[in-house]
């Protein structure tokens, strides 16, 4: 099936790609929302005044679709607050006053893994979720039913197609052995015969390094992907790297594929070896408001954004982003913390939004859409609240990559309208 994937060519702006990861200084205070990724929010397991140590579990939930939260530092719980997430939902947050000792929790030891089930339990206990940005709980993704949906390919996402971000690239360059060990471990535990590592062609050193590392393992193939956005979007990656189309309402596992971010696999093998749960993230800090020290940092989960900005000399900023400029989330204040799914913090000076004018029907959005939707038709259908038309035009297939808004000469908010349209359809369904 020949499907032309649209997408756009973006400036790469990866000026931090050769900057080795450095540990960000321990902050005085950490804020840990009990909802760090997709799934049910956790309940705090600690209360005000409790002493915590590095790696101690401080939040958990008995629902299967949830991931526990661990303390990234040693110190004292100064308060349990209500926290509003950037998507508008609320949860509790544990605020920790760090003591500077970084005393490691005595319970930290490599997990006992004997079979598939104990492996999945360990993955859950590690607090791991998809580290590429979407934050899907990893134990759920890996907990596929091999009888119903047999998986033949583990697809490693190292596309990193967003401008600025280089954190996955640094993972390739700094931890190539761990990545391969992690891949081989997961393949062995879950009986997955093949693996493909997809890397965009603008990272030749990572491709060469991975090819060298996998030279003696014929089950792992390194695939050079075209450098076009949104190459790292799950469906696009599955199509370009494995030639399969994930249909409407399907998960990648229906096509025999599971996709994992490169940093996630590397984390899993580290956890298997050390037992240290997910308490820090590699973060690319960049953007035109960052005046010094832009680069890649190992940042403890919960570190306030304001600490990072101060360290990087960002004073005059008008827009702060969790993630890249195409799909990142704009922050409403700098007191928010870094959470598990973040891989970049970008600070920009400019606040001016271009003026929106009438659609001239140029068709650029249609040519750019990687899913082959018709964004301009979807926009007018949303504006007249025509839910039947929105469903007919398959707005639910939109992956919110933002290509349509990016190319629009009239600066119309096409991607935003698609998200609103999805909300409208969901609301109508619930009725």
């Amino acid at each position: 099936m020949a499907v032309k994937i649209g997408g756009v060519k973006l400036p790469h702006l990866k000026s931090t790609e050769n900057m080795e990861t450095v540990d960000f200084p321990l902050p005085k205070k950490l804020i840990l929302p009990m909802s760090q990724c997709m799934g049910a929010p956790c309940t705090p397991l600690v209360k005000k005044g409790d002493t915590v140590t590095v790696g101690m579990k401080i939040g958990d939930c008995d629902k299967p679709m949830s991931v526990p939260v661990h303390s990234p530092a040693s110190g004292v719980v100064s308060e349990i607050t209500d926290y509003r997430l950037s998507n508008g939902a609320s949860c509790k947050a544990v605020v920790i006053e760090t003591d500077g000792q970084q005393t490691v929790c005595p319970d930290i030891k490599p997990p006992q893994i004997t079979d598939r089930k104990s492996f999945l339990d360990a993955v859950r206990e590690s607090g791991c979720c998809g580290l590429g940005g979407a934050g899907f709980p990893t134990h759920i993704k890996l907990g596929f039913d091999p009888d119903k949906t047999p998986i033949d390919t583990l697809l490693i996402n190292g596309a990193e197609c967003e401008p600025y971000i280089t954190s996955d690239y640094r993972e390739f360059m700094e931890a190539p052995e761990e990545i391969i060990d992690g891949i081989e471990y997961i393949m062995k535990m879950l009986d997955i015969p093949n693996c493909k590592i997809g890397i965009e062609s603008n990272k030749p050193s990572a491709i060469a390094l991975m090819k060298k590392q996998t030279a003696d393992n014929s089950a792992i193939e390194v695939v050079s992907l075209p450098s076009s956005y949104p190459q790292g979007a799950e469906k696009v990656l599955i199509y370009t790297a494995a030639g399969r189309v994930v249909a409407e309402g399907e998960l990648p596992s229906h096509q025999g594929v599971i996709v994992m971010n490169v940093s996630t696999v590397a984390f899993i093998i580290r956890y298997i070896r050390t037992g240290m749960p997910l308490i820090s993230k590699r973060l690319t800090i960049d953007g035109d408001a960052v005046t010094k020290n832009n680069g890649n940092y190992r940042v403890l989960v919960g570190t306030p954004v304001s600490d990072l900005l101060e360290y990087c000399g960002a004073e005059e900023y008008g827009k702060l982003l969790y993630g890249g400029p195409m799909m990142g989330i704009a922050l409403d204040n700098a007191e928010r913390p870094i959470i598990k799914v973040n891989n970049a913090l970008l600070a920009f000076r400019s606040t001016a939004e271009p003026v929106t004018t009438s659609c001239i029907r140029c068709g650029r959005c249609i040519r750019a859409c990687p899913v082959k939707l018709m964004p301009t038709s979807l926009e007018s259908a949303y504006d007249r609240e025509d839910t039947a038309e929105l469903e007919r035009l398959k707005v639910m297939l939109c992956i919110n990559c933002g290509c349509c808004s990016y190319v629009c000469p009239a600066n119309r908010h096409l991607a935003e309208k698609n998200q609103l349209a999805k909300g409208l359809l969901m609301k109508n369904k619930r009725r």
């Binding site: 409407e248 195409m326 990142g328 989330i329 001239i360 029907r361 038709s377 808004s405 190319v407 000469p409």
Partner: protein, 311 residues
Amino acid sequence: MSLNVSPSPHIHDNISTRKVMLTVIISLLPACIAGVIIFGPMALVNLCVCTASSVFFEYILRRIMKKPQTISDMSAAVTGLLLGMNLPPEINPLFGVIGSFVAIGVTKQLFGGIGQNFANPAIVGRIVLMLSFTGHMSRWSEPFYYKNEYDSVSTATPLVSGNADYMSLFLGTTGGCIGETCALALILGGLILIFTRTITPHAPIAFIGTVALLTFIAGDDPLYAILSGGLMLGAFFMATDYATTPLTEKGKLIFGIGCGLLTFAIRKFGSYPEGVSFSILLMNLLVPYIDRLCELKPVGMKKAAKESGKV
């Protein structure tokens, strides 16, 4: 510090409606310059009057309707320039003003302004002038007449005379509208549009190809047919107008083929020697249906179970 909290994406391609329209104007300039060289100062006056009056009508109508001003997007200038290129060189400039009013006032602004009009404004302007003032609109001047001592000399367009040589058709030294005769300049402009990705080549190729093929089948000279009349101007610049042509590439192909078919039919069987304007206008009317027929199939879409009675 106040933060801008807007939805993604947070960056934008370096493109605007104004830049698109400026590209179109630049790509029209070779044919305009050729027209002025071939037909002299009156051609320049007519081009300027049409452009200026179109911009003026856009400005004044937006003002009267108390709508945001849109002249800075340059689309009115494009319409005016195209209308001017579709007029005979020696025509009284007042007709250009009337044409501009029909194009901008009636065809564009009455339907909501840029992007909302269903018919190509310049073509409607030209057709209204042609039907209302047929005599004035079909008085063709001899190329380079302005260098002669005597007054304007009338001639026939190559479509009527049928005896122009290929070289003069290619260079435009024949009778015709200001901007339609020089195939060389029009192809150059079309290539600018295609290489700057302002238009896709689907509609022009389908349009010109269909005319050539049908002319060949009918036993006439296909090269003569595509080099004469308003075909090049229409195919590259009017059958590619965003608002009045289909959105998808498949739709653009169908649009081009339809235009070619109608142009051939009017030229061969109709009572007018030229049919490019009429064919584009007729196809404009079919655009909503073509769009509906040529919707893209989203990647991974599952065929919906057939609903009874409802498509």
